[in-house]
Symmetry: C2
Subunit: 347 residues, 2 copies
Amino acid sequence: MKELKLALLGFGNAGQAFGRLLLDKEEEIKKTYETEIKVTVIATASKGNIYDPEGINLRTAIEDINEDGRFSEKHRLTQLSTMELSKEADYDVLVEMTPLNIFTGQPAADHIKTALGRRKHVITANKGPVAWFFRELSHMAHDADVCFFYETTVMDGTPVFNLAEKTLKMAKVTEVSGILNSTTNYILEELAKGEDYDDIMERGRKMGFIEADPAMDIEGYDAAAKITALLNVLMDAGITPDQVRRKGIEDITAEDIGKAKERGKVIKLLCRGFRNEKGEVEATVEPVEISENDILAGINSTTSIVSITTDLMKKISVIEHEPEIEQTAYGVFSDLLRVLDRVAYNK
Amino acid sequence: MKELKLALLGFGNAGQAFGRLLLDKEEEIKKTYETEIKVTVIATASKGNIYDPEGINLRTAIEDINEDGRFSEKHRLTQLSTMELSKEADYDVLVEMTPLNIFTGQPAADHIKTALGRRKHVITANKGPVAWFFRELSHMAHDADVCFFYETTVMDGTPVFNLAEKTLKMAKVTEVSGILNSTTNYILEELAKGEDYDDIMERGRKMGFIEADPAMDIEGYDAAAKITALLNVLMDAGITPDQVRRKGIEDITAEDIGKAKERGKVIKLLCRGFRNEKGEVEATVEPVEISENDILAGINSTTSIVSITTDLMKKISVIEHEPEIEQTAYGVFSDLLRVLDRVAYNK
């Protein structure tokens, strides 16, 4: 039985859901890959850090968080910081799930660079590093001959990057578009129903899919980071989120939506990118009027869509329907299975 | 430089488009896989058969068909039948693209069995064999340790089977649904616009997406074969198309559609399959009223959709937007690249 040691950076809802999934699939992984997964590091901002080269008891770690909100003395607590653990701890795969700074991609990108510099595999659920540092990180991973996977960064575990890489071989991506931000999608939908803006925000916050400060969503920064990540990976765009022509929904009024409706249209915050005549990739995020009969008009609430146009397969789309936190966990898990494919089978 | 020899059974529009794609990508394949693709057999129902173990000139073969509708003396014509060629010719990969008998899956299934019996790889664009004989064929391929690929059989080259196999690892499929027949989809859409049935049929035939005898589509047989293929592969259903509860659109009137519209609904021919309490897979094809706001309501004309529900990723959908014959060719081509992955890299 081989071993694969994971360092989990970040242990919020998604990290804990990933932990539960690891526990559920422990036996299946052993059977399929003849490999035992051990978590040696869990680093958090506010719950404490634990490090055990022999393997953390993941079940009690999750219980600790649920019961007390932080790790107990049952575990080997450490004063080492997240960055120090990235640098020094014993692990084979760094799993980056720390909170995102959408304007810098940090400190996630530095954690990842540290791991890649140590020739460790990296899985990130954090879109910042893919939006801000994709070329550098992918070159580092290539030179170190290790995996760098990021399926979760757009649409959770819904295959987008893997779809293009694994199933659209030799097809060249010419255009990417999508509805990728559920907060704005929900707000626009509710405004169209005639709901009041403040009521929408209050309800959305209660339901957990509008953040306390929703500016990152409403002003289109989140969507810009996602389309940048998509274009960097699928079209080798080499762009950063600040190069996206970005317009949020902050100026969209119920009246705009009503007028659009009279013309048989709905308003959606659409992300798009394509290669222009100079060979550069241009990207936009902006509210767009969509025909009520269009597929995009049916993308409501937390559902999202990515459309990928290639020279050989024209346009295909992938939809994620109303995901929950388990779907984020599955994205990280599916990347882990790809690492296992490589480690166990050299695939 | 290695060699991989293909036997093409069937050389209609899709076969010729596949031939053109092979020619376009000849150099890229050589470079990527260090393998030269040679076509040694082209077998057709009405254009003659050619067999050249040294490799057919694919370019002149396509020219022959375009100019004269049959192969000329430039090629090594043979009197061997399609079945005899399957049995005796020198090839590594059988590419099955003969016309479909939807009620039997034959003679395509027998061609495939013959090739698998000879331990040759098989790619089929023909849904019949996957709908009628999937378990037998996949067991034969497994025992012979060869590839048996069929991505094209549902939604052309849009990844459906590959998506599940390559990108949804360890996720268990619990339900599959979709709009999979463009003829009926087009007819229902045009009826909803108030068009006359006979006019629709005439126009659809001229545009090339309604067949001379559209009964297979209208009565739901084509859709039943497709959902069967999906369920056999994705859920190990072990069913045949005659086990699908099937209702076509032959009884749907403009009045039905109008009444649905008054309720904010459209009618679509929906395919569905799920595992029942006994653990058996149940499948249906039937006209269903869909809310106008639903994503499915936006699936119009030749666009189609498959939704796959799994335990770990809930529901995701894949859409193919208005495909043409090149997208069918790409499906076969992408399967060929998977064969090359296996042959060249043992992946």
